[in-house]
Symmetry: D2
Subunit: 366 residues, 4 copies
């Protein structure tokens, strides 16, 4: 159960950074969905490292292969096995990493938990694992395109270190035009200079990603312990280096009064409710309201930095470590497509759960 | 699966605000644990409303009954059924709430999802449901007392509206001495005046709760999709009105550089690692490191306020609503023991999972 | 997870033979289903002991109470908590049973597994637990009445000891007319004499129950590891004292040739396939075919008998035991409504699973 | 959830008969277990078809590759991905099978459930899927070798059509010496002649497999709905073509009296209980007693036969079909290693579950 998520649309990922391959099994996908490799590959291409100087220079083709679950270009309802080969496994000396625990990495905790660990590139705890989720997200998107054609799931980077975007300048069209997925071109400029400085000094920095799902119907989410927001929180917190998750107003909800926080309800021209604001992030009582689903997550700075840090060895000696290699100065950048993929999987899963339990017995207004 | 959480130590809650009773079934508890009602009741008493003017004046005895799973005062390994009767169900006219959707509440989404809803006191979406979790948390604490005697799980309120505590003044002994669970007595004074003002104006405000688990052994947590932090995030996000969850540095991790964020590792006198700081919140790669587990969550302001708000009726007419009744001006206060209970359940669950998969095959330093 | 079954329609039972009560939580029931206690009680009445001299003389009212999950007589989609009080707990001396392990009972294995056990009436391993399943089955039937109105789930006793029914005489109308649920009145006469003899000699005997579900649509079942037949096998094998489960031809399939076993397919007047025979028991590849679902299970003889049997004590001494008390000479009789209840739960669960994954994308003939 | 089984030791299989590959992901395996391909391959070799004239002549190398989850020849505790390429995909015309439903096969039900199906070699419903289980069973056996060294899990064919073995002649050493896994060499002779006759006439026949697990400690099994026997029943019933499952006395328990059925208990010289007989099949109340675990399952005759059978087409015309190709005259033969693999997985899973919940708190005698 450890390496799976989702209830009906269930994804199991496997693989290490430096093994022969990694991948996932996607179980519970509806049948009859058009799906071939070209439906999935673009999402992997978006996540792929080495596309700008602000992400790791590791070069992975990240070519996805569908090994099962489709026939003549459509899903059959049986499990979809997706495989991505690891191609850029530089022959490297891992003996230092095998002996020393890198601060901020999972080296220490994998050792203490399992008694052994694969030190090559972080093994299972490597961010390479997220390629498998992005592939699964590609399947979810293909199914959503049929089942909820109006749904649109997008993400953007909204803060890098201390530099947040100007929300008044938000423009989705800008997102793919800069190497940061920034919806604010001015912020992208600021980040360029800021990250160049950090990169040269061998340092790194954290970031915040925002996800927005438009067109999600009301009624998705299963209270109390499979709420749409609790499942989103779980899903985003599983992404490497994530330390915080917010829905709607998020942590700032603490500072609001009840009268400020109330999203007042009106009747839309389309017979559906509309709201004066969206502090709820589209979710009330764990169930989608029909508003945009809005989630954010904070990614900590890359732990692999050139600044020497104090640590210990497996035999308990105190020492120092410098983590060289091809590392992202801001690993949050590449988390954007990963977060989108997780959100797509969760929304599809809850669509299926809702259809299973409720069918078309849901309520209407008017 | 919707109303259950946990993998091996699995809790299923049930019940509505105004039904005859609510409760839970706790499955997978280890056998031989001393457990009688007096082991659980104090935690329910701590959560119980009506203990100060800052929480709802609803008066519920919240007496827990153990209906199964123990024999001669010890757990038998079979499911533990806990029952709490609803005693303060004031005869009240719910016809307005049945017709109008209260902004910020789950009224609208339950209607749209299920086609019908129990309007009495919020039905299943009422914060009364959290009593069942607190009872389950009492069982988890009883088991932890035997299995991880060093573990200590505590919570505190650290922010109310714009007023945060002074962390330099943190004193756990102060927490039970004020009606807010504040570790900073000065903050408690500030909040008293602030909340009195809000209460009189019929308004409400959000808050932030911080949880700390000391004495948790290294190695708990099951990457990648049952990480200790992702399970904590899920668990806290299921609590009513929670909009954000943080581990360690949380959302602020976005603003840190890699060199700031690195928790350097040293060798403790007890043969276990110690750290220069705890930005990680005690969790690396989804696995506990032996440091304190630190989590925070933001609770939105109570949605039931006296300020009139715009809304619609089930038949689609636009109207206005004022939610009278016995409501918490700051529902975050009562979330403290609820958060503690959820954290206790998750930690026990991961202790059992780890023991199941790994036994005593974990690693050591030195 | 130990005391729950079902995927979307998920039942968690709890309770011991001699605790204050037993019950279950039914999660995932569709909303809007008419449900009050009188919908459930008849099924419990059918299972209730003490209705003839062929079942235990223990007298339990087995009155079910709905504690949650309904509003104004309809299900709300939230968990349904069902409670049945234990009323006939005779004050009895359990010291011998606490010291000696009864052969065929779970005394020994509960002791070895858990280190302690509730000796009163078998504790959790008592057949009283099945009352909770029958109550859950009542909920499933209420939902099936709305969702699959054509479905009809019935059971019958088809063999007692060496005496099988004459299948040529099968008459469903006879089933409720005799104390054995026999579809063959002549077999009922034979069993009467046979069981009277066994009862007087303090002995007991096994039996076979057959379940038939008519009107189940094609397409239910989720290969490979949640097949309709594997879920039925699991469900029936969890019933106390069951040692074998068959689908369709069952164990006798071993003796058939391929040409004998083939259920040839024809086109029905209703546009659906019909078959020359039903060796498959209505399930092919784990999926229902639209034919009747046919399952059977064997129940071993009641282990509590008056004949002295050799056993050991908890301290390891060899000794002898005679189990007095109010025991069923043929516990298989009361298993009929239990088996029906389990089958109803599984079929509803798979209906919901199928609706979730496939919706109305299934195939047709012609 | 559909293509996974097991609780802590969880296996997810994927793949079709004629896709590029099939395989499985094994999650929850304990760390530190020696595991390389040569530990798994022998079990696949035993299952592999084409080794005698009594199984299909399809030639598959069934070479297993470990893609993840091990490092330097030991398991790391992370998911183990196993891949088996499909090599013998004869270019064949599947247009007839795509149009007609073969009686006894899953063609019809996959079509009705999913709206489309992969007709090549049965797609997902092919017995080739069992190769993935056997591979997973190899992992389970490697873990059991470390965790329960005394455990020995073996299977044998005990009946082919009407011809059962003579149990007095049971000799485990004979099992690998004949192409049927028969423990009785005389029965093997009988079957040779009998199956040669069937094969020549293009017919097939059913069979019964018996599994025995020795050396399984007492205490495994989690009542009430994850009983060791209900999990075994589920697991065996998922194997292609299985129609019945028995534990211990099985269906014959129906014919026994209580005094016959009682397995009397004595004190063994090793301080553990011993029994006068094993009607229980080593399981009481869903928990292992320390006796041998004994399970049996019936496999129906291969549905692909040369005798013409009546059927219908996807467009609803009545027609006839003859299934040519390389088919097993008795598919039950190859089910022996599959059954063993399933039993190994279930026993390991319950060992881990028990260790998780109970640790070393179980009871002793004396």
């Amino acid at each position: 159960m450890f390496n799976s998520f989702g209830h009906l649309f269930r994804v199991t990922t496997w693989g290490e950074s430096h093994g022969p391959a990694l991948g996932c099994v996607v179980d519970g996908c509806p049948p009859g969905i058009p799906l071939t490799e070209p439906d999935i590959q673009p999402w992997l291409d978006a996540r792929r490292p080495g596309q700008s100087r602000f992400t790791t220079q590791r070069q992975e083709a990240d070519q996805v292969e569908i090994l099962s679950g489709t026939y003549e270009g459509r899903t059959t309802g049986t499990p979809i096995s997706l495989l991505i080969r690891n191609t850029d496994q530089r022959s490297k000396d891992y003996s230092e990493i095998a002996q020393k625990f890198r601060p901020g990495h999972a080296d220490l905790t994998y050792h203490l938990k399992y008694g052994l660990r694969d030190p090559r590139g972080g093994g299972r705890s490597s961010a390479r694992e997220t390629a498998a989720r992005v592939a699964a997200g590609g399947v979810a998107r293909a199914a959503l395109a049929i089942l909820i054609p109006a749904a649109r799931i997008r993400g953007a980077l909204v803060q890098v270190g201390p530099h947040a975007i100007d929300r008044a300048s938000w423009d989705w069209d800008e997102v793919p035009k800069n190497p940061f997925w920034s919806p604010d071109p001015k912020a992208a400029e600021t980040w360029t200079a800021y990250l160049d400085g950090l990169r040269k000094s061998g340092n790194s920095v954290g970031a915040i990603v925002e996800l927005v799902a438009e067109g999600v119907p009301a009624g998705l989410g299963a209270p109390i312990y499979a709420k749409l927001d609790s499942d989103i929180a779980m899903a985003l917190m599983t992404i490497n280096a994530v330390k915080g998750v917010e829905i709607g107003a998020g942590m700032a909800a603490a500072t609001l009064t009840g009268s400020e926080n109330a999203d007042e309800i009106f009747m839309g021209n389309d017979g559906r409710p509309r709201f004066s604001s969206n502090h709820a992030g589209g979710i009330l009582g764990g169930i989608s309201s029909g508003q945009d689903i809005v989630a954010r997550f904070a990614v900590k700075p890359t732990s692999s930095i050139l600044t020497p840090r104090r640590t210990i060895t497996v035999t308990g000696e105190e020492t120092e470590i410098v983590t060289k290699g091809r590392h992202d100065p801001c690993v949050g950048i590449r988390a954007v497509p990963v977060g989108e993929a997780m959100l797509a999987c969760i929304i599809l899963d809850h669509f299926l759960l809702h259809r299973g339990q409720v069918g078309d017995a849901g309520g209407r207004i008017g």
